[in-house]
């Protein structure tokens, strides 16, 4: 439902001293050439990666780099460094592509992990498991070098709580997802809109662990969300 719209918008038009606009408004075209497009323009993937790594450290996020062949080892090591026993991960076909199926076996896990894979059919149980899990693991959909950000698109097996409720968060970052900054991510999302596609109900730009500076301006991590975060960059091309 939309309530009280007409009078509200009429009033705005009147105050602006003109009639209501009925034709679609064109965005000024010179915005296309704003400064946002110049940042890291023309950087190679390798250069973007080093910007990303440097920025992650600035925002208290650990970064590891690996080839896809050793991703399972690196991931397991990271989980163990967090003393992680219970793990929740999103249901993302890319986990299998990266050879992580045995690591994420939910029955008789060979590594002794208690693993839950987000499953929409199980409803609220997913949220309970996320709340109890030590570690949440998701794969970045778009990764922003400049700000050390992973972008997670929700939907189906990709629950919002995976990156939110567990104490630790691990993001797997395929190198191919790396772009200079938020500008490119916004452009990609907009292209989907222009094609008439639905966009996810939640798009999260995550840069480092949850933190706050509300007590005497001291930075404290983990006030509500994850206390620590790691990005594992994996070469996939």
């Amino acid at each position: 439902m939309i309530y009280n719209r007409e009078a509200f918008l009429e009033r705005i038009a009147r105050k602006l001293g003109r009639p209501r606009i009925s034709e679609p408004v064109k965005r000024p075209s010179h915005w296309k050439h704003g400064p946002q497009w110049r940042t890291l323009a023309g950087a190679t993937p390798e250069e973007l990666l080093s910007v990303f790594e440097r920025q992650c450290r600035m925002i208290h996020t650990d970064v590891r780099r690996t080839e896809s062949s050793s991703l399972p080892d690196v991931l397991l090591e990271t989980i163990r460094s967090y003393d992680g026993k219970s793990v929740i991960c999103s249901d993302d076909p890319r986990f299998a592509e990266f050879g992580l199926s045995s690591l994420f076996a939910t029955q008789d896990n060979p590594y002794g992990l208690d693993v839950h894979i987000w499953n929409p059919e199980k409803g609220k149980i997913n949220i309970e498991r996320a709340e109890q899990a030590d570690v949440g693991i998701a794969i970045s959909d778009i990764t922003l070098a400049e700000s050390g950000t992973v972008v997670l698109m929700s939907g189906g097996g990709k629950g919002r709580s995976v990156s939110l409720l567990p104490r630790y968060f691990i993001a797997i970052v395929p190198l191919s997802t790396l772009v200079p900054r938020m500008t490119q991510a916004a452009r990609m999302i907009r292209e989907r809109i222009e094609r008439g596609e639905a966009i996810p109900s939640s798009v999260n730009f995550i840069s480092g662990p949850s933190n706050s500076a509300d007590i005497e301006m001291n930075l404290v991590v983990g006030v509500h969300g994850p206390v620590k975060a790691t990005c594992i960059v994996v070469t996939d091309r």
């Binding site: 439902m1 939309i2 309530y3 918008l9 009033r11 705005i12 105050k15 602006l16 001293g17 606009i21 408004v25 965005r27 000024p28 915005w31 704003g34 400064p35 946002q36 110049r38 940042t39 987000w118 929409p120 409803g123 997913n126 949220i127 709340e131 050390g148 950000t149 929700s154 939907g155 189906g156 629950g159 919002r160 709580s161 939110l164 900054r181 938020m182 500008t183 452009r187 907009r190 809109i193 639905a198 966009i199 996810p200 109900s201 939640s202 798009v203 730009f205 995550i206 840069s207 662990p209 949850s210 500076a213 509300d214 007590i215 301006m217 404290v220 983990g222 006030v223 509500h224 969300g225």
Partner: protein, 476 residues
């Protein structure tokens, strides 16, 4: 709480601010820190002036076409299965939200920081029908637990409190037994709030920006409480000032970048959460019901006036962090949830001129705020316009001036000072001037300049102010 808090008049608030030593040094330190990180962030970005022009252009364009973009936004949200309520007044907004809450028979509500819900006194309305409303932003939470102490900064509402004070409040009100270490207190709050997030029936947030083209609401936080509030409860109500809108994701991106850098000096804050409608089919977490409440509450009266540009504001707080007056008196002295230079411009427009007539005088007109603003709002010009308007409209001496005069004890007991004022000339004050501002005024000016930096006569209306009073033969 409403836009206004406290009933003390301006000078008492100022006085209290000045006497509170801790507050003053805490505010100064916070201000310094935020200012420095903002400058560093702007420098890293490069081409800062071009960025600001882009930000200004986007905000102006959106305001000029506000009816169009709001129509587009509401159509999108509706198409996604959300509800949109246009509220002309605070009462309309709060009664709609109350109805939504009552229909769900909801009792437990979690909120993430939102100034516009403060502006419409939403918590009072919900508490009156028996709801428990929990502020989940750590700074807001501290204020709420401390008997609803008013905020002192737009971005860091509790910067005026030291850790010991916070520990005491937690101990008294919540039975906290730990130390005054920020880590320990934060961990305690985490434990306190988790059950609230998990059991709340309604989550309420503000809206940093809404995207017209896609019907998206964007929340910018560091703590992640905005994510919890919008992921776990079955109902999400987002409340936005009608001007907080951008055309598409491409402008969203620019504005979010400007906001993060200007507010906290980060490239992006930890969480930028973009929510489009209620949860989709197949989603487990996320609200099943989504409401967007779009609020006018005095904003449309600013459109088409000389103050229109104030609606470009993105609430980054950068203007507070450079303001010498804010540094001296602290945010609470403004008596409004909107403090600092932006508060001095906005509060009289939204909260009523009578209530806030004196605020535009709480400025040294040094223009630092204008220079800091990421969307080029000419704040100090607007402050001067406020003063001119007040002076023109009121034949008798404006209340604000009278209060200010009394407040600083300048005139009543000091005919000598009165004469000083009337004869003030730039040359006479030159020795005390620094960057066009008189920092330590001579003799009789001291009570004034020890509180605020007095602008040089040629740049300010201080002299005219005395002059006019003299002409009218007015006694304070």
């Amino acid at each position: 709480m409403g836009i206004q808090f406290g009933d003390v008049v301006f000078y008492r608030r100022v006085d209290k601010g000045i006497r509170d030593q801790f507050m003053r040094s805490a505010v100064r330190a916070a201000q310094e820190r935020m200012r420095t990180s903002r400058l560093r962030a702007a420098e890293e970005l490069g081409d800062w002036e071009e960025w600001r022009r882009l930000g200004e252009e986007i905000r102006r364009h959106t305001l000029e076409h506000l009816d169009y973009y709001l129509e587009q936004l509401s159509d999108r949200v509706h198409a996604l299965g959300g509800h949109v309520f246009f509220a002309q007044t605070a009462e309309e907004a709060t009664s709609y939200i109350r109805d939504v809450v009552q229909k769900r028979d909801a009792r437990r509500i979690v909120k993430s920081k939102s100034m516009v819900t403060e502006e419409i006194s939403l918590n009072d309305v919900l508490e009156a029908i028996g709801c428990r409303v929990v502020e989940t932003d750590l700074g807001e939470y501290i204020l709420q637990v401390d008997d609803h102490d008013p905020p002192s900064h737009i971005v860091g509402p509790s910067v005026h409190k030291d850790r010991e004070r916070i520990r005491r409040v937690f101990a008294e009100k919540l039975g906290y037994t730990g130390s005054a270490e920020p880590e320990e207190m934060t961990a305690f709050v985490r434990q306190q709030l988790r059950p609230d997030f998990l059991t709340a029936e309604v989550g309420i947030t503000g809206c940093n920006f809404a995207v017209a083209e896609s019907g998206t609401v964007c929340l910018v936080t560091n703590e992640g409480n905005g994510r919890l509030v919008t992921s776990l409860p079955p109902v999400h109500i987002a409340v936005m000032g009608m001007e907080r809108i951008v055309p598409t994701w491409e402008e969203l991106e620019v504005m979010v970048g400007l906001l993060c850098r200007s507010a906290v000096g980060q490239k992006l804050t930890s969480y930028i959460n973009c929510l489009t409608g209620p949860k989709a089919a197949g989603d487990v977490d996320g609200p099943e019901e989504f409401h967007l409440v779009i609020i006018d509450n005095g904003r449309s009266d600013i459109l088409g006036t000389e103050f229109q540009s104030v609606l470009q504001c993105i609430r980054c707080g950068a203007c507070l962090n450079v303001c010498p007056v804010y540094r001296h008196i602290g945010g609470q002295a403004y008596g409004s949830i909107y403090s600092g230079p932006i508060g001095a411009v906005l509060s009289p427009l939204l909260g009523g001129e009578d209530l806030y007539r004196e605020l535009p005088y709480a400025s040294s007109l040094c223009a630092a705020c204008t220079e800091a603003c990421p969307v080029n709002i000419p704040l100090h010009d607007l402050l001067i316009r406020h003063r001119q308007k007040t002076a023109e409209e009121k034949r008798q001496s404006p209340l604000g001036e009278r209060l200010a005069m009394k407040a600083f004890g300048m005139v009543a007991e000091s005919p000598r000072l009165y004469r000083w004022g009337t004869k003030l000339a730039r040359t006479a004050l030159l020795p005390w001037e620094e960057d066009g501002v008189i920092r330590q005024g001579p003799g009789p000016l001291q009570p004034w300049t020890s509180i605020r930096d007095l602008p040089s006569p040629e740049r300010e209306t201080f002299r005219e102010w005395f002059e006019n009073r003299r002409k009218r033969g007015e006694r304070p």
